[in-house]
């Protein structure tokens, strides 16, 4: 009798873990469609993706850092800083290549700085990137005296208006980022070691892996994606704004976690991240198209995230309890 119950828990838990959030995404879509007739239109769905493109792209990098057992709280501020640098360089040189190159340099420098402190100086990633979140934002504000720097360029025009078989460059960049991440995670040493580091960094080191180097590389990948996110962000704003994408890093972390990636690292994949991103993106768009003001927007958003997390945690517990049945045959003394 208890075995049946456990098997049920195991199966139900697995189903809930695999499809639970997808179901919640569908539920959200249905609710918002019901509340707002203009929500479920092709135009708005495209809009949802483009509005949250930076989030989606950054979430790929955040997935890397979380699988490796680290946290990265800096992407939002790094995007603001790189965006401001891009706008400043562009308004001075009028050359988008140089401007984008400068933004790439800044992104990589922030990643290098964070990564080096975390890997070679062994400082906790939460602290390092929390500090970066603060100082990068400060630097962005300082460089611009807290003003936005608007600019016009063919590049911005291209990003917002071009279309490849009906897909805009911004959406294309999302797709490319996920493909890049998926390839790196699944088919390269870097990917293998990302999982290994999150599983047990000490054991990985004993296996002869240069763990510091690979930790650094993970933060550089993240930095590259920050740069990609910067291109998207400045294009949509047509400006470099020091207070752009506030809280993006938290949305990205929440997306990765409610997608079902393990918070302690070692496991996860980008499919989960993608669903998590869709959830947050739909939530952001749906709530704001309902015309909510900040206060109620954040209140609803927070609670709906909690509900999603609740199902995620439930499914995990069910699986753990269900797995008890496979262990009970062993001679283990204690049955916790």
């Amino acid at each position: 009798m208890p075995n049946n119950q456990r098997d049920f828990r195991l199966v139900f838990g697995r189903v809930l873990q695999t499809y639970g959030l997808l179901l919640m995404v569908i539920v959200l879509l249905v609710i918002f469609t019901f509340l707002n007739e203009r929500f479920f239109t092709l135009q708005n769905l495209k809009n949802i993706l483009e509005q949250n493109a930076a989030l989606a792209i950054v979430a790929v990098g955040v997935t890397f850092s979380i699988i490796s057992g680290n946290f990265d709280l800096s992407p939002g501020a790094a995007i603001a800083l790189a965006g401001v640098v891009l706008a400043l360089v562009y308004t001075h040189t009028n050359n988008m290549w140089i401007a984008a190159g400068a933004a790439l340099g800044v992104s990589l420098l922030v990643g290098l700085f964070n990564g080096a402190l975390i890997s070679y100086f062994r400082i906790n990633s939460v602290i390092v990137t929390l500090a970066a979140m603060i100082w990068a934002r400060g630097l962005a504000l300082g460089l611009t005296s807290a003003d936005s720097i608007p600019f016009q360029s063919r590049f911005v025009e291209f990003m917002n208006n071009a279309s490849f078989l009906g897909v805009s460059p911004i959406i294309l960049l999302i797709i490319l980022s996920f493909v890049l991440g998926w390839f790196l995670l699944g088919y390269t040493r870097l990917g293998r070691y990302t999982y290994a580091l999150g599983g047990d960094s000490e054991a990985t080191k004993q296996a002869g892996v240069n763990t510091a180097l690979y930790t650094l590389l993970i933060f550089l990948i993240s930095a590259f994606l920050v740069w990609t996110g910067t291109l998207v962000t400045v294009s949509r704003l047509s400006a470099g704004a020091p207070n752009a994408v506030y809280g993006l890093e938290f949305d990205a972390i929440v997306a990765v976690i409610i997608g079902g990636n393990s918070m302690t690292g070692g496991e996860g994949n980008l499919g989960k991240t993608l669903i998590g991103v869709l959830f947050i993106a739909i939530l952001n768009n749906g709530l704001s198209t309902l015309g909510m003001r900040d206060s109620s927007f954040y209140l609803y958003k927070g609670f709906i995230i909690l509900i999603a997390l609740f199902f995620e945690v439930m499914s995990r517990r069910m699986i753990v309890k269900g797995q008890g049945s496979t262990l009970s045959g062993n001679e283990t003394v204690s049955g916790h």
């Binding site: 088919y187 390269t188 040493r189 870097l190 990917g191 293998r192 999982y195 290994a196 999150g198 599983g199 047990d200 054991a203 990985t204 004993q206 296996a207 002869g208 892996v209 070692g266 496991e267 062993n330 001679e331 003394v333 204690s334 916790h336």
Partner: protein, 512 residues
Amino acid sequence: MTQSLQESPPILEMTGITKRFPGVLALNRVNFSVKRGEIHSLIGQNGAGKSTLMKILAGVYSADEGTICMEEQPIHLRHPSDSLNKGIAIVYQELSLLPNLTVAQNIFLGREPGKWLLLDNKTIFNRSRQILESVGIDHIDIHTKIADIPLAQRQLVEIAKALSHNPKVLILDEPTAPLTGDDTKHLFDILKRLRSQGVAIIFITHRLKEVITYCDRGTVLRNGQTVGCVDIHNTSESALIEMMIGQKLENFYRSDTATKHLPKQEVVLEVQGLSVGKKVRDVTFQVRRGEIIGITGLLGAGQNELARALFGIENQVAGVIRRNGKPVRISSPSEAIYHGICLLTENRKEEGLILEMSVKENMTLPSLAFFRLSKWIPVVNHRKEHSRVEEFIRKVNIVTRSANTRLRTLSGGNQQKTIVARWLLRNLEILLFIEPTRGIDVGAKAEIYRLLSSLANEGKSIIVVSTDHVEVMGISDRVFVMYKGRLAKIFDKVEVSEEKLLFEIQGGVPHD
């Protein structure tokens, strides 16, 4: 065979190895040598220097003095990769496998074939399969995550990983500690095959039975010195123990007269008709002040559930428990502790030790309320706390630099003693132990025996559950035998013998 073994020169010889750590002489001119095609056990208590010696071989530490020769050539091992290149591979006690990666991914972790960043998964899979087959463990699916395969198989994967380096010398640091009998046998089948291929195997264990059964020669270390090298075929378990601890283990057993001076009749705990689901059926017994009761039986005969029920962590418990004559209800650990009963299991993490905190903090965690400045000021009186802790460190003989030392740095035996001290601080009267000496070495075992005996002499009542029937016989005043959930037999110390005990453990049927 044995003749040629003795004549062949050693493949590896360590001479006069000395290693100092700050304040400690870990190895003092140790000599050690192994030959091609033998299983050589390295025997000694924790702290005897076994691991240090092997870490020197593995290139983790370098020796301060002494020479290492491989095939009669002096070699220098400065880095783990030096050792691997010379053909020395080690399997550490803490498994180094990553639970979240697959078998194949683990075997090649850190040296994946492939160009640049790209992985050559095909080669990884094929080579992994080959390696597993070559050691006869082809029943493991190389695509399973390590977390999803049993511990015994993980051990085999770890060995396969070491063998993928084609070592001439294979070092195994306590590989059998987590294994059951069958798995151990399987492991040795593999080791024997390697032996016949000419690999020299160094085997570290504290299970002397395995040494006697499977090994060819053994070197005994004590306090960082070589006590001797023996031919296992001409020695016995008790002779090895004597070499290890310098005296006989029996000296630490409980003497028949230990409790004579105590009023034996005072019953402190009475169990009547106790059942736990179908695992324990209708068990009735009494526990007197100052006695040690040993409960033994086959694995799963209900002895663990019985002890756990008395601590309130089993469901479906029926029956009556009386404490000092009064019926009590024990359905949670806090109620058990309230009634003066505590349980210590072999799983030290589960017992609530916090390894990152100090010995003192761990000891006083459940009794901090007793150290308040005054009745009305709920602030910890550190001086009082400290002096009590010092008192109990001396009393149970915890080897630690100070009360403020982190628990993580203590040996398993001393961590175990810290928990005992924790409950003694609460002045609990009935101490339940499940397998208190499983996984600890002979020296620490002797310490635990001495501690149990002295606690009983002070008037504590102790129940020890153990599947080691020799241990139970040695340390108990009364021996209970459980069989299929029932209390099958109660022996007094004077009437018990190994034959009678084994007979009852098997359910009272004759056995060979």
